[in-house]
């Protein structure tokens, strides 16, 4: 197996991975940086983010308000030291991006423009039309091209971390186009592998979001934190799951049920605001968890509209007018038109909540370091505890930047004090990957198919680990996922060739998703309260006495995982009531 020596290896070239790579290259031009990604960087799913990125920039706004919005939005499960650091770094990072050429929308005077977003008390979301993530990703990618020290390994599928002497010192990966295995020996590893929404059948997430990074760290001994918090986005297309950005509501779109009633007022987000005059932090601009939950209640009450694609509610943007829609929401119009055949200028669009984002992930601290020395993580795959129990729209894109950079700086600090590697030990470790892959290739007896298992996993997750959860459902889910993990060991490849074998990659991805699904379900079963995106019908109240803490799930091989807890860091905001009544409590 060919060995590649490098200083820092980054797994993932989405927003977080690219930001980390640039920070490394800028801070120390002599560093050798390996940027490893299973897709070309600009294909990473950051490109799909539409709405925008939050950072305090306007005079009427303040760090404190951004802090309060984030902590309250996260239902007090955020670590407040982390949020503090984040809100201060956010505008710097967004300005940096501006200096690198990101085409942010502007005010007539040439300053950047901001838009309102769900759960935010002030307008502070920077946006580039409704292609914000796309522009961020391409700006980062193109900027990264000027650094020769960033060596890209495009279409390399990362498999396992190399751990020796209690430190993470590299990884194994497969060159997807030759099918050959490589080992990267690195003095520090940063995982920026993105989310895992593909565990669910209806999701805004792209095909690549299979939680490989999370699973890799998990298998190597790093705990996964708060995995039970899975965000549903209230407005997804019912057939493809494609997202209609929150900006639809930010710009003034309204949600109505089959009687034409703006039902959010019935779920603690009222009273009704005038149509076309969205008010921050209330009604349609409530937080995602609440708005998605309201859909579920409407569904129970039979207030949803029956469409060929299932039960839906309606997102009405007609009153915004053609001009504003074309100017601010062109992508939304295009998506609804082509995939659903609905012109938002003329008709309301049927929508439903779809899985969108993983609040949980590889446990990291405010320095972006995991408990496993030498391993750092940033972006959606990490849980730095910024988002708590519910992420506010437009905080994630900034998180990529802030903690992508932070991970890079921490990695440099770590490198300075690490001893030399024991190459032989790392090679022995890498051999295990080789054996795993060989075993997979040589297995012939078996009846399980990837597509079949994947489908069962998705159905289980949708049924039992969705917007509302129960003890019985979760128990069934835990058992089912456990069973699927066992059956996974009998999966047989149909394709045993080497070059660009997507049958193989889908098999590996399924393995990652099952690992993540395990952490989600056991975490959810153990958390006997309702908080943010985790809602239990049997425990409808938040329980700060027992659960104001993070779930930590540890991998135990084939056995059931071990659960532990970690206290939430509280500096100045004590748990309170999440108020989205627009001050009409």
């Amino acid at each position: 197996m060919e060995t590649i020596q490098t200083d820092v290896a980054i797994i993932g070239a989405g927003g977080a991975g690219l930001r980390a790579a640039i920070a490394l290259a800028e801070t120390d031009p002599k560093l050798r940086i390996a940027l490893i990604s299973k897709v070309y960087p600009m294909r990473s799913h950051t490109c799909a983010a539409e709405g925008g990125a939050a950072g305090v920039i306007k005079p009427d706004d303040s760090f404190d308000i951004h802090f309060d919005d984030t902590v309250g939005g996260g239902d007090w499960l955020s670590d407040q030291d982390c949020v503090e650091y984040f809100v201060h770094e956010a505008p710097k990072e967004l300005l940096q991006l501006e200096h690198w050429g990101c085409p942010w929308n502007r005010e007539p005077d040439g300053s950047v423009a901001v838009r309102p977003f769900g759960g935010m008390k002030k307008k502070r979301t920077w946006f580039a039309a409704d292609k914000s993530g796309f522009h961020i990703l391409h700006t980062l990618f193109q900027t990264s091209l000027q650094f020769d020290s960033i060596k890209r390994y495009d279409e390399y599928f990362a498999l396992d971390l190399l751990v020796d002497a209690g430190r993470c010192q590299g990884l194994t990966a497969m060159d997807m186009r030759s099918g050959q295995l490589r080992q990267f020996h690195a003095r520090a590893v940063i995982i920026a592998g993105g989310g895992a929404g593909r565990m669910f059948p209806f999701t805004t997430n792209g095909a690549i979001k299979t939680g490989d990074g999370m699973a890799m760290a998990y298998r190597a001994g790093a705990p996964l934190k708060d995995m039970e918090f899975v965000q549903y986005h209230p407005t997804g297309l019912p057939n493809t799951g494609s997202l209609l950005t929150e900006a639809c509501r930010g710009e003034g779109g309204i949600l109505v049920n089959k009687h034409g009633r703006r039902y959010l007022q019935d779920y603690g987000m009222g009273p009704e605001t005038p149509v076309g005059q969205p008010q921050l932090k209330t009604m349609e601009l409530g937080p995602r968890d609440r708005v998605s939950q309201a859909y579920w209640h409407e569904l129970q009450k039979g207030n949803t509209v029956t469409t060929p694609w299932g039960e839906c509610v309606l997102l009405d943007m007609r009153h915004l007018g053609t001009k504003k829609i074309n100017e601010r929401l062109p992508l939304v119009r295009e998506l609804a038109e082509s995939y659903l055949g609905v012109d938002i200028v003329k008709d309301p669009v049927p929508i439903r909540p779809v899985v969108h984002y993983m609040m949980g992930g590889i446990s990291t601290n405010t320095q972006a370091a995991t408990p496993l020395p030498g391993l750092f993580a940033a972006g959606e795959c990490a849980c730095v505890s910024l988002n708590g129990a519910n992420r506010l729209g437009s905080n994630s894109l900034v998180e990529l930047l802030v903690f992508g950079r932070r991970a890079a700086l921490s990695a440099i600090e770590h490198i300075e004090k690490t001893p030399a590697a024991n190459t032989a030990a790392l090679e022995a470790c890498a051999d295990q990957t080789q054996q795993r892959i060989r075993a997979l290739f040589s297995r012939t007896a078996g009846t399980e198919s990837v597509a079949g298992l994947r489908k069962e996993m998705m159905t289980t997750m949708e049924e039992h680990a969705g917007i509302y959860r129960t003890e019985a459902g979760l128990q069934a889910a835990v058992a089912r996922i456990h069973e699927l993990r066992e059956r996974y060991r009998r999966v047989v490849l149909t394709d045993r060739t080497n070059v660009y074998n997507t049958d193989l990659f889908q098999t590996l991805e399924l393995g990652s998703m099952l690992d993540c699904a395990e952490a989600v379900t056991v975490g959810a079963l153990a958390r006997k309260e309702s908080r943010g995106a985790h809602q239990r019908l049997d425990f409808p109240e938040r329980d700060d006495k027992n659960f104001l803490r993070h779930t930590m799930v540890y991998h135990q091989g084939a056995d059931a995982p071990r659960i532990d807890y970690l206290d939430v860091v509280i500096t100045r905001s004590q748990p309170g009531i999440r108020d989205y009544s627009g001050g009409h409590q």
Binding site: R177, S178, G179, Q180, T497, N498, V499
Partner: protein, 130 residues
């Protein structure tokens, strides 16, 4: 085994049969043959004019042969085709931004067509067709 990418060569002499839009492109380009030849013919006419009345009138008479008629029809069509493709293309090559927005391309081509029509009428009047 490892990579062995398949290279599919482009047939250098027949590629334009692959897609109607390539044929349209080639027909646009091929107008140059007719226009060029036509210009050479005009130069000859100029030569005849310089040689005196007789040779000029002989030239005009020679233009009336069937071959010449066919050629003229071809050249005229070619020139027309060239003109339309050219006017439609100027908006692409030279977009104009007034205020924030770009002037719609159809306006730019439209303006060209108007000028073209005026110029043609002037030339026709000068030539004393009517």
């Amino acid at each position: 085994m490892s990579r062995k990418p398949l290279i599919r060569e482009v047939p250098p002499t027949t590629w334009y049969f692959r897609h109607p839009r390539y044929l349209r492109y080639m027909s646009r380009e091929i107008t140059s043959l007719f226009v060029g030849a036509y210009c050479v013919l005009l130069v000859c006419g100029l030569g005849a004019l310089a040689d005196g009345k007789e040779s000029y009138e002989a030239f005009l008479l020679a233009l009336q042969s069937p071959l010449s008629i066919a050629f003229h029809v071809a050249a005229f069509i070619a020139a027309l085709y060239h003109a339309t493709t050219w006017f439609n293309a100027t908006q692409v090559a030279m977009p104009i931004q007034i205020g924030e927005n770009f002037v719609p391309g159809s306006w730019i081509s439209g303006a060209h067509y108007v000028v073209w029509a005026l110029l043609s009428v002037v030339v026709i009047l000068l030539a004393g067709v009517f």
